[in-house]
């Protein structure tokens, strides 16, 4: 036995320190400061304890609407990413190595460009007189030009494209661990292609789908560039509102309160979700 084994936690603790310090400085410290600010008056000296920021958020229907929209959009975006991403990931695991590489590169490629540039791309496609409108008109589906700009549908389309890679990549991790013999066994036992996927592949991919959808949900709750550019001022989301309070109205106290409400409600949704999915995924 080496001398180091007498203190089994010492070496792991050393390895953990840089990450822990970074998290402390970059997340917990600002989060606690925001928490404090949300309960303090802003601009008075000295700052006093107050609930006025939360009262304002509760009373103003506008912010309730922003909150509901934010969560509704995040759920729709997550659901669509699951619906599109899972079959895509299944196909990627089943094709030959050459095609698989091509598909993975195609999935990752959008991540190499800035979100701003990708979103401007969507503006060109979704906007009035854009490619989408023009194509539908040429096909005779619609008779006058449409625009998905400043609509929730437009936000969802642009966001799904931005976030799909996260879901596909995490799901690929799970799918890669399923031995091919399980799917073959299911087929020989009479399952057929689609039922094999439903009864074998899908349940075994739950861990990847769970972490992927959590990632997508968290990212879409907190995103503000794409919703702000596509949705405009009328269709505000929480992150956009907070940004505006902090940088436009300079109402830091109210911005902090909105941040706390967003953080808390996100946790209220995510924690039960994690518990349920880990229970399903943990059965194997």
């Amino acid at each position: 036995m080496s001398a180091g084994s007498a203190q089994p936690y010492r070496e792991p603790a050393i390895l953990l320190t840089p990450g822990l310090l970074f998290l402390l400085l970059a997340f917990f410290f600002p989060a606690l400061q925001l928490l404090a600010q949300s309960f303090l008056t802003f601009g008075t000296e000295p700052a006093r304890f107050t609930l006025e920021h939360y009262a304002k958020a509760a009373v103003d229907d506008f912010y309730a609407g922003v909150g509901v929209r934010t969560f509704r959009l995040a759920m729709i975006i997550t659901a669509l990413c699951l619906l599109i991403g899972f079959p895509l990931a299944v196909i990627i695991t089943r094709v030959g190595p050459a095609l698989r590489t091509v598909l993975i590169v195609l999935i990752i490629l959008p991540l190499m460009t800035s979100v701003v540039i990708r979103t401007f791309g969507w503006l060109v496609i979704l906007g009035p007189g854009g490619v989408l409108s023009w194509t539908l008109q040429q096909l005779g589906v619609i008779d006058r030009g449409i625009s998905l700009m400043h609509t929730e549908a437009g936000i969802v389309i642009a966001m799904v494209q931005v976030l799909l890679p996260f879901l596909v990549l995490t799901t690929l991790g799970s799918l890669g661990q399923i031995p091919p013999s399980l799917e073959e066994a299911a087929r020989v036992m009479g399952a057929g292609f689609f039922r094999g996927i439903f009864h074998v592949t899908l349940p075994l991919a739950v861990p990847g789908l769970a972490s992927g959808s959590l990632l997508v949900f968290a990212l879409s709750i907190s995103s503000f560039i794409t919703p702000t550019l596509v949705g405009g001022v009328r269709l505000q989301v929480m992150a956009g509102s907070i940004y505006q309070q902090m940088t436009g109205s300079f109402d830091w106290g109210f911005g902090a309160a909105l941040s706390m409400i967003l953080l808390l409600s996100t946790l209220l949704l995510i924690v039960p979700y994690m518990v349920i999915t880990s229970r399903i995924g943990g059965r194997k």
Partner: protein, 351 residues
């Protein structure tokens, strides 16, 4: 009528020809072993029969219908994978019920009843609710076996069924598999590289080499009368050496490198000249009878195996290994006479 037949199956992987115009017929209730070294094409053939690989050309018939173009789920067969391929997110009983559930011809209650029956056939009824990860390797194998027989398939395919078990369990499962086959009469084809498994389980052994059949027959035929050097060598336990064959007045004899001569049994395969012969290690005795061929040798070394003893004997200018009952084994390292029945010395085609 054959329960299963494959005709002229050809399969390439890239430029490599894995199966070359392969034919095989299996009668109803037969227990056939596809035996051969790795890379001989036996596993590919099994996967082609199951529908998991598509042959380049050829025909497959199962239970009287052509299944060549059918997907695996429509072939009404069962395949037990080497890795068992139990579904980790389902309990043992759910795994066993899975084929019935997918075929959907029975009510849920009947499916469960049949699954329980299959579980008790493999003596695992008490572990029905366990998940695969909570079962030992041997128990997992029994679940996989129950899952394979539960749907009364037209054909049961087993891929290296015993290779993941330790020696003691392997012996136990050999008996179990044989008993199940005798009770259920399922037409069974299994793939193995282990000659003992093939000899112990099958009614018929199809010995494969480089994508073709090397020799086919009952275990006894294959073991006692191999036709080629490959067959003699692969079935194990053989001395293989070259003798100079000559004939005078209808009596055939062979001479060892040092000039010692032994009589050869009359066989149509014999012709004068050099020829490879096989002599099973158990055919050699230290106590030859009058009618036997004999030769003088010296014992080089011996391994005591319990009931039997293995001796390395230098005789006729070559080394011969004998496995004999320990109580009938010469134990001093001295010159000794060894002998065998002339028909135990089998001429081989040198391929």
């Amino acid at each position: 009528m054959h329960q299963m037949s494959v005709r002229s199956i050809v399969k390439h992987f890239a430029d490599l020809k894995v199966l070359d115009e392969f034919d095989l017929d299996v009668a109803k209730g037969e227990f056939v072993a596809l035996l051969g070294p790795s890379g001989c094409g036996k596993s590919t053939l099994l996967r082609i029969i199951a529908g998991l690989e598509t042959p380049d050309s050829g025909e497959i018939h199962i239970a009287g219908r052509s299944v060549t173009a059918l997907a695996p789920e429509h072939r009404n067969i069962a395949l037990m994978f080497q890795s068992y391929a139990l579904l980790p997110h389902m309990s043992a009983i759910e795994n066993v019920r899975f084929p019935l559930r997918m075929r959907g011809q029975l009510s849920r209650a009947d499916q469960l009843r049949k699954a329980r029956e299959a579980m008790s056939l493999v003596q695992l009824g008490h572990l029905a609710e366990r998940y695969p990860r909570q079962l030992s390797g041997g128990q997992q194998q029994r679940v996989a076996l129950a899952r394979s027989i539960v749907g009364e398939p037209d054909l049961l395919l087993l891929d290296e069924p015993l290779s993941n078990l330790d020696a003691r369990l392997r012996e136990e499962m050999q008996i179990e598999l044989k008993r199940l086959h005798e009770n259920l009469g399922l037409t069974t084809i299994f793939v193995t590289h282990d000659q003992n498994e093939a000899l112990g389980l099958a009614n018929r052994i199809t010995l494969m080499n480089r994508g073709s059949i090397e020799q086919q027959g009952t275990p006894e035929e294959i073991y006692r009368r191999p036709r080629t050097v490959f067959a003699a060598d692969f079935l194990g336990g053989a001395n293989i050496f070259e003798l100079e064959v000559s004939e005078s007045d209808g009596v055939w004899s062979g001479s060892f490198p040092d000039g010692s001569r032994v009589d050869l049994a009359v066989s149509s395969d014999l012709e004068p000249g050099k020829c490879q012969f096989m002599l099973r290690k158990e055919a050699v005795t230290f106590d030859p009878e009058q009618s036997m061929s004999t030769i003088t040798g010296t014992i080089q070394t011996q391994n005591y195996l319990g009931g039997q003893t293995r001796s390395l004997i230098r005789a006729g200018g070559i080394e011969i290994i004998a496995v004999t009952d320990s109580d009938k084994t010469e134990t001093d390292r001295i010159e000794t006479q060894i002998g065998w029945r002339p028909d135990e010395l089998i001429p081989l085609q040198n391929v």
